[in-house]
Each structure stands twice: as structure tokens, then as C-alpha cells.
Symmetry: C2
Subunit: 334 residues, 2 copies
DNA sequence: TTGTAGGCGTTATCAC
DNA sequence: GTGATAACGCCTACAA
């Protein structure tokens, strides 16, 4: 593997001139530049990132701390982050948290710092993670994605509350009053925001909300919840915090002889790729996870470069109405 | 940020001794070792990876070249790779291919080499990608994941053919003879293997197979195919190359008044998390994508270290029978 | 516009 | 067992 000096020798210049060409320094005569470029091509020379990092003190690397388990949203955001980062000349290293204890979070951040990342994006929707992060004051910029609470670190999210309100209001506008919320895990900021949107919508309509059912995002839990709610039988609609749980919920309902939307309406959140194809097709709130990822990266780069961060208005989720909602049974058959 | 010399000064030794302690060199007196360790802790010293990489010529970095679009399988494997790599002391950088042209593949490998990865795993199920990779002879080890064809590079995969055969034989054993295969894209090795399994099973049972329908893995395509196949109406069962397409297919069938499994049976591949909860619950072939990822990493590490690669027997997919299959209509109602 | 000197933080080599 | 010295490949600063 040839070095900058080999190129210099071949081009008949000093290694410093080669460095200038590589870094696009303006004061290099065009002829010299060409000779150097030729030599570079001829030797298939590639700058050594380690050597450069040693002196510039930056590897042009950003870290992603992920506490997700391959959900659709997180995966989409991650891909977007990676692409945007490379486009900006940074490479990306990902670290999956084994659990969300303060210890593993500390260890993970420490590890990423040891790897000399220039900044890091936390793809960690659990409130606890953002809190631990906020309380750590690592000496690199950190942007937390998909988290709504202000905390200390830079945070960013779609407007989950508005989306949830949209979903709930859709049910109410159809005539539902007995609307249950199947929520996400307590610790997740998104879960809280979506619940907030539900509560807001219910109270605005002068309906007293039910105590929410706490789920864990999985289809399996949704199924269990479906069976239980069918037993209770005191609601005509459910707002579910994500599509995957909704699919399980509908399954549970069916096992108990309840059909959606004939007997119960269901609205959920995310618009995963199969949402339009399951039976019934899901009425759901669509989010642009990729845009979210790109924006997180923009924010982080601004912080790394010490620029003033761009002003980013929150993304606006929108409701997609499909087959899982209808006017309530009791209303259509008085 | 303190350096090895700061530690040396504080511990009253030479920087070289500190280096020995860090690298667990045997010949350091225990007392000295402790003093150095204390100094390290006191200064919160962290080795500079760039400086180390400069002299060892390795960043302890492995690259993952991904040509997938967030499918369940690829995502699971990627996570497993990342975790296994970190456990082995390597960090991971991911590069998503914008497209699978030879140019982008070349550029991507080049980019990863510029980043000084010690080896790379291609999470690229398209045959073309493995071919381009095999023809490139980059000067770093490359392991290709989820690819069955031998090619030149190290490859690794679950036994897709066996899994597909299992699925098809299940249909045949139920009494189906008119079994259509909704395949994956032509270029994907997995798609080819699954088709091969279908063909094998059909021929073994002395049934002449249908020409397969080419899909693209998406639920949307599945839906289109469902509508078309319903028009044709010449089959009693479909073996679909993945669950997501199967969900779309069933949707398309339903739009045309065909119920699964009453009118048509469907078997698919992957066992994604919602497979058990959609209606009807999918009979499908389960694969352990995480194990696949871990094995890919094992193979790569062996190559990087110049060891003889471990002998890995292919993973054995298994069939999970749920509700989407039944005995054929024409047989149950003679 | 171009070249020379020095140093970034670490490991390897060879003394002692 | 420990230390001095020389790289590793590059960039910054300064000199020509």
C-alpha cells in the first residue's frame, strides 16, 4: 500500500504538495495538480484514515446507539441516517444496547467514545435512555431520536401527540365514545405521547377516557389484549399504539368472535408495509421515519461543526383511513 | 484527553511500560502493573485507536455491505453480526448500497477499504452482487451472507432448498397437485433456491410444476399477483417465497372472493413476527437469521486471522403449520 | 506556488 | 522487567 511519499516521488514533488492536492488546497498549480493526480491513480493511492485521524483528531465517524429490536420505524430511520452520513463524508458505527440499564448505557457511550466517534445519535425511544444520556454530559454531541420530552440533550421527534389525537378524533367523529387505548410500554416516550394525544382528544370531546392498557409493542401481546378486551366488552373502538400490536389485537378479537370493524373499530400507528394488506386493512397514522433520521443527522452535524442547528419543524404524521374503522355497532343499529 | 505519556509520568514509568500493561504483555511486575492501572483510572485514560491503528495497520473494524431494504431477515442478521463483532472486539460500519449496479458495488467496496475495514460481510442476497464481489478480488476477506451459490468468495446460507421443499411437500401431502410458486426476484439467490426446492418437490411427486410467477418480495406485488392468479383459477395452492408477499397475495385473493385456506392454500417463508397473527395465520418456514449472522462473523474473523475457517453445517429451516393451509377444495368436496 | 521541519499517540525493536 | 528510540502516514506551520 503506497503512501503519500510514494506519490510525491512519482510525481516529482514534495509529499506536502500531494497533501495539498488531496485536501483541495487552492494554491497548487494546475499542472502540478494533474501530475499528482496521475501518480495517485497510477499507484492506486488511498489516504490512510488512521494517520489523518491521528493528526486531525477526528475519524469522521458518527455512532448510533440503538436500543430497539428491529422495529420498522427504527430500522427505517437508521438506514436514512447511514445514507445521509455517508453523503456528508462520515461513516457510521452502530452499537445495539443489550438492555436499557444505566450501566449498559454508560458502557455503550464510553465504548463509542473510545472508538473516537465525532458525535452520536441515540435511536432510543425509552425515556430512561434519554434521561441517562442527558445526565451524563459526555464530551461529544449527542442527538436523541424519536423522543419527545425536552430533556437536556438535543431531541427530535415527529409530533406523536398530534398523530394520536388525529387517530382518536377519527374514532370519535365516527360516533365512538367508548374508546380504549392499547398503549406502548410505560418507559417509552412515544408511548406516552401517543397516550397524551388520546387523552387530549377524549377530554376535548367531553368523554372520560378509559385507563389505558399497557402493551409491549408486540403482536403477541396484542393478541392477549384482544382476548381480554373482548371479555370486558365495554368498548366499541380501540386506539392501538402501533400496527403490529393492532394485528395481534384483531387476531385476539377474532378468536373471541369479535370482528373488526363490524363489532369493534381499530386505529393504530406507523403504517408498516403490510398495513394495507392485512385483513382488515389498517386505518393508521403514517410517519416518515426516514425524514426523521435525516433530520437527526443534520442536527448532529451542526453540533459537531459548532454551527447553529437548523430550525426543524416537527414532522406531521397523517391519518390513513382504511378498513379497520367504521361507525359503532350500537349506533348503526339503534 | 490524556495520552500514554501522561499515564507514564503519573505512574513513574516509561510510556512503553504503560503500553505493555494496556496490551497485557506478560513481563510487567505486578506492582508496576497496579501503579499503571491506577494512573489510568485516575486520568480516565483511553487509548487512541487512530494512533494504534496507524502502527498496527488495523482499526479492528469490519464493514457490512448491505443491499437490502430493511427486510426482516436482513435486519435480524445485521443486528446479530453487530453484537457478535463487538463481543470479539471489532466495531462495525454499515454501508447501504444505493443500487446493485457493478459500479456502486465497486464504489462501495472501495469506500469500505478506504475506511480501512479488516474484512467485510456482504448482506447482499442478489446473485449479481456476489458475482461482482467474487470477480473483484479485493485484498481483504469477504464473506457473503444469504447466498447459496458457491461462487468464489466465502458464502453462507440456510438451506433454502430444503426449506422450500418442506413447504411444497406439505401442500402435496395435503392432496394439492396444482401448486403455483410465487417466487422472489430473478436475481436473488434465495429466490432461486426456494424455487429449486419447489421444483424438486413437485418433480419428486411426479407433478409437472407451473411456470413460477416472479415477484419482488413486497406485499403490494403479492396483492397484484393474488388478483391475477384468482382470474386464472387453475391452482389450489400457492407456495410464496416470503411472508410479506403472502400477506398481499391473500389480500388479493380476498378481493376476488377467494378465501384462504377454504379456496386456496398458501405456504410461505420467513416466519416474521406477525405471521402467527394475521388472518389466516401463516403456515411458513422458519429461519434463524440471527444464527446466520453470527456464523458469517465467525467465518470472517477466521479469515481475517488467517485461521482455518470453522466447519459450519447449514442451518435447518423448519416448517410451522398454521391456518393458511388445508386439504384442497376439490378433494374435500368430491 | 512549493518545500522542510516537527509532531500527533501508539507499538516494535533492541538495548540494559 | 524496563526504558530509549525509531517508525507508522499524515497535517500544520513556517520558510523559501
Amino acid at each position: 500500500m503506497s503512501s503519500i511519499r510514494d506519490v510525491a516521488r512519482l510525481a516529482g514533488v514534495s509529499h506536502q504538495t500531494v497533501s495539498r492536492v488531496i485536501n483541495e488546497h487552492p494554491s497548487v498549480r494546475e499542472g502540478t495538480r494533474q501530475r499528482v493526480l496521475d501518480a495517485i491513480a497510477q499507484l492506486d493511492y488511498r489516504p490512510n484514515v488512521a494517520a489523518r485521524a491521528l493528526v486531525t483528531n477526528s475519524l469522521n465517524l458518527i455512532g448510533v446507539l440503538s436500543a430497539t429490536t428491529g422495529e420498522f420505524g427504527a430500522t427505517s430511520s437508521l438506514t436514512a441516517i447511514e445514507e445521509a452520513a455517508r453523503a456528508a463524508g462520515y461513516s457510521v458505527t452502530t452499537l445495539n444496547l443489550p438492555d436499557v440499564s444505566a450501566d449498559s448505557i454508560h458502557a455503550a457511550v464510553r465504548q463509542l467514545q473510545n472508538e473516537r466517534v465525532d458525535g452520536l445519535i441515540a435511536l432510543a425511544p425509552q425515556a430512561r435512555v434519554s434521561h441517562v444520556l442527558a445526565g451524563m454530559r459526555a464530551d461529544i454531541p449527542i442527538v436523541t431520536l424519536q423522543t419527545a420530552s425536552g430533556a437536556t440533550a438535543e431531541t427530535l421527534s415527529a409530533d406523536q401527540v398530534a398523530g394520536a389525537r388525529l387517530a382518536t378524533e377519527h374514532l370519535i367523529s365516527l360516533g365512538h365514545r367508548d374508546v380504549v387505548h392499547l398503549a406502548g410500554p410505560q418507559d417509552w416516550v412515544e408511548a406516552e405521547s401517543r397516550m397524551q394525544g388520546y387523552l387530549d382528544a377524549m377530554l376535548d370531546a367531553d368523554i372520560s377516557p378509559f385507563p389505558p392498557v399497557r402493551g409491549d409493542w408486540t403482536a403477541d401481546f396484542g393478541h392477549t389484549a384482544g382476548v381480554e378486551l373482548a371479555h370486558r366488552g365495554d368498548m366499541t373502538a380501540v386506539f392501538v399504539a402501533n400496527d403490529v400490536m393492532a394485528i395481534g389485537l384483531i387476531h385476539g378479537f377474532r378468536d373471541m368472535g369479535l370482528e373488526v370493524p363490524r363489532d369493534v373499530s381499530v386505529v393504530s400507528f406507523d403504517d408498516i408495509p403490510v398495513a394495507a394488506h392485512v385483513t382488515p386493512a389498517l386505518t393508521t397514522v403514517h410517519q416518515d421515519f426516514q425524514a426523521l433520521g435525516r433530520r437527526a443527522l443534520l442536527l448532529l452535524l451542526a453540533e459537531i461543526r459548532g454551527e447553529t442547528p437548523p430550525v426543524l419543524e416537527p414532522a406531521h404524521p397523517r391519518l390513513i383511513v382504511r378498513d379497520s374503522t367504521a361507525t359503532p355497532h350500537t349506533v348503526t343499529q339503534p
